[in-house]
């Protein structure tokens, strides 16, 4: 049986029917990694022994009647900023090359408790900010649709591993778009949950008040299943919210009839990097949603430049606070891109940061107010398809081609969903944002987009 295109739910059904074992799923995934990763560099470490041990445990438990739920026996991989007990966690950096955590991060502990099978650790932009780079201990992950093109970052290996059909789910992190950017450019689903929804404890921080963690996956349902495992209050994460977690699959197939969806068109209509092919894709999606019964209309949010400025100032300031001592004494040990970004944090004044925090309140209130009129917002994830390695873009600059940072600033949940291929044969994604703690609506609209776009019928790379 070819298992590479089985959804997480389908794998679960076959496991429970005894048609397949978790060990076979793990061995198949390991074989795909061995066959494909030499050219793509998604993985910085393959944990084969751990994977097979996890898988055998999952099989033994199912045989003895212990069923841990929808993630039981499912192979997955982790961006290499997640602490894993006894397994190297490098942040893709020379500075932490020999770091072996003593404890699992909360997310890893929850995935283990849910019966997940850990295949290994994935490439990232250094410290979730600096890349793609060729001056780091590991090569940058490459885009499976065309290895001459970047994946987007910083969850670069996660995007690659999903798009190349190595695994169905890979964990990423998102401080300015590091889940949704690679998802858009690699043709995967990627959700940044509401700030506070998933514990960040044990995941190396980039910017405490902007950091979110979440999955990249092949389908919206895969992400919903994964978030069900991850979501929930953690009293030891100071940002964790004690808000009830609903059943994320309950309304997944409910459709969009009667929903109101707003498009903040000025975000991308006024950006110089916007290309006609991605706007055409978004307009096609809007038309499909209207045809399915939703009201879809253009609306206004505060100017994009303000979201971008607030996010960058806060991110740079907080990142510098984290890395200050190493930036002062070991700057040469960071990759060039990482170093160039971290030093900017030292140039931000106290007044700059306070003004950014004042604007953050204004912007958060504006998005919440808009979402009192709309069930969801629809926009582009990126202004173009993935660029080539030799045409680098700066995802943090005012001219960034990624349009994801508004919801890091405001904390609202947002997801990138692939809708088709552009003229260059590379994926295009749209972004769906929802009310705080209403990931269920984001999944519902995303599932409709996934179905209506026909993405499920697009042939993926990876053999």
């Amino acid at each position: 049986m070819d298992t590479q295109d089985l959804s997480i739910a389908e794998m679960g059904r076959l496991l429970r029917a005894g048609t397949v074992t978790a060990e076979k799923l793990a061995r198949d995934a390991l074989a795909r990694v061995a066959a494909r990763d030499g050219a793509l560099h998604a993985f910085v470490l393959v944990t084969e022994e751990r994977a097979l041990a996890d898988a055998r445990r999952a099989d033994d438990e199912l045989k003895s009647g212990r069923d841990r739920g929808a993630f039981h026996g499912i192979p997955y991989a982790l961006k290499d900023i997640y602490d894993t007990a006894g397994i190297r966690t490098t942040c893709h950096s020379k500075l932490r090359l020999h770091n072996v955590p003593k404890e699992d991060s909360v997310a890893v502990a929850r995935l283990r408790e849910a019966g997940g099978v850990l295949l290994g650790k994935l490439a990232t932009h250094e410290f979730a900010i600096g890349g793609p780079s060729f001056d780091l201990p590991f090569p940058p992950a490459r885009n499976p649709w065309n290895p001459e093109h970047v994946t987007g970052g910083s969850s670069s290996g996660s995007g690659t591993a999903i798009a190349a059909r190595m695994v169905r789910m890979a964990m990423g992190s998102d401080t300015g778009g590091s889940i949704r950017g690679p998802a858009a450019w690699c043709g995967t689903v990627g959700i940044k949950p509401t700030y506070g929804r998933v514990s960040r404890r044990g995941v190396f921080p980039l910017s405490w008040t902007l950091d979110h963690i979440g999955p990249l996956s092949r389908s919206v349902e895969d992400s919903a299943i994964t978030l069900q495992v991850l979501a929930g209050h953690d009293p030891r994460d100071p940002a964790s919210a004690d808000v009830p977690v609903p059943d994320y699959r309950a309304d997944l197939e409910k459709g969009v009839a009667g929903l109101r969806i707003g498009i903040p068109r000025a975000f991308f209509a006024t950006a110089t990097a916007t290309t006609p092919q991605v706007v055409a894709g978004l307009d096609r999606t809007a038309a499909q949603l209207r045809e399915a019964g939703a009201t879809v209309e253009d609306m206004e949010l505060p100017e994009y430049a303000l979201f971008s400025a607030v996010g960058r100032v806060i991110m740079m300031a907080e990142a510098f606070a984290i890395h200050e001592a190493d930036v002062q004494t070991r700057l040469q040990d960071y990759g060039e891109i990482t170093a160039g970004r971290f030093v900017l944090g030292a140039a931000i004044t106290a007044a700059d940061l306070i003004h950014a925090q004042r604007a953050r309140r204004e912007l958060t209130d504006a998005v919440s107010a808009a979402l009192s009129r709309y069930d969801a917002l629809l926009m582009l994830s990126a202004l173009d398809t993935a660029p080539r390695f030799d045409q680098p873009t700066d995802a943090l600059s005012s001219a960034s081609p990624i349009q994801t940072i508004p919801y890091n600033v405001t904390g609202h949940p947002a997801m990138s969903v692939p809708i088709g291929l552009g003229t260059s044969g590379l994926p295009i994604g749209v972004q769906i944002a929802g009310r705080a703690f209403d990931e269920a609506m984001v999944f519902r609209v995303g599932r409709a987009v996934e179905t209506l776009s026909g993405w499920e019928n697009v042939a993926l790379p990876g053999g």
Partner: protein, 69 residues
């Protein structure tokens, strides 16, 4: 915020800030970092002069649960 500085003034300002922070930028990286600093400085300018004293910073920020419109 004061008028945007000339390139020379911007470079001098950046060098001063780096010195104060105890950071030494390798000469071969200085031009790229200065370009990024100029871009960041332009973004920072958007944030100044927007608010009166009644506008407090987010702490960190507030979110209403779904349904709490």
């Amino acid at each position: 915020m004061a008028e945007f500085p000339t390139p020379d003034a911007l470079a001098a300002e950046f060098d001063c800030l780096m010195t104060r922070a105890g950071i030494t930028i390798p000469p071969q990286r200085r031009a790229a970092v200065l370009t990024a600093y100029a871009d960041l400085r332009g973004q920072i300018a958007l944030l100044h002069g927007r608010y009166g004293p009644e506008a407090e910073p987010s702490n960190v920020f507030r979110l209403a649960p779904a349904g709490g419109k």
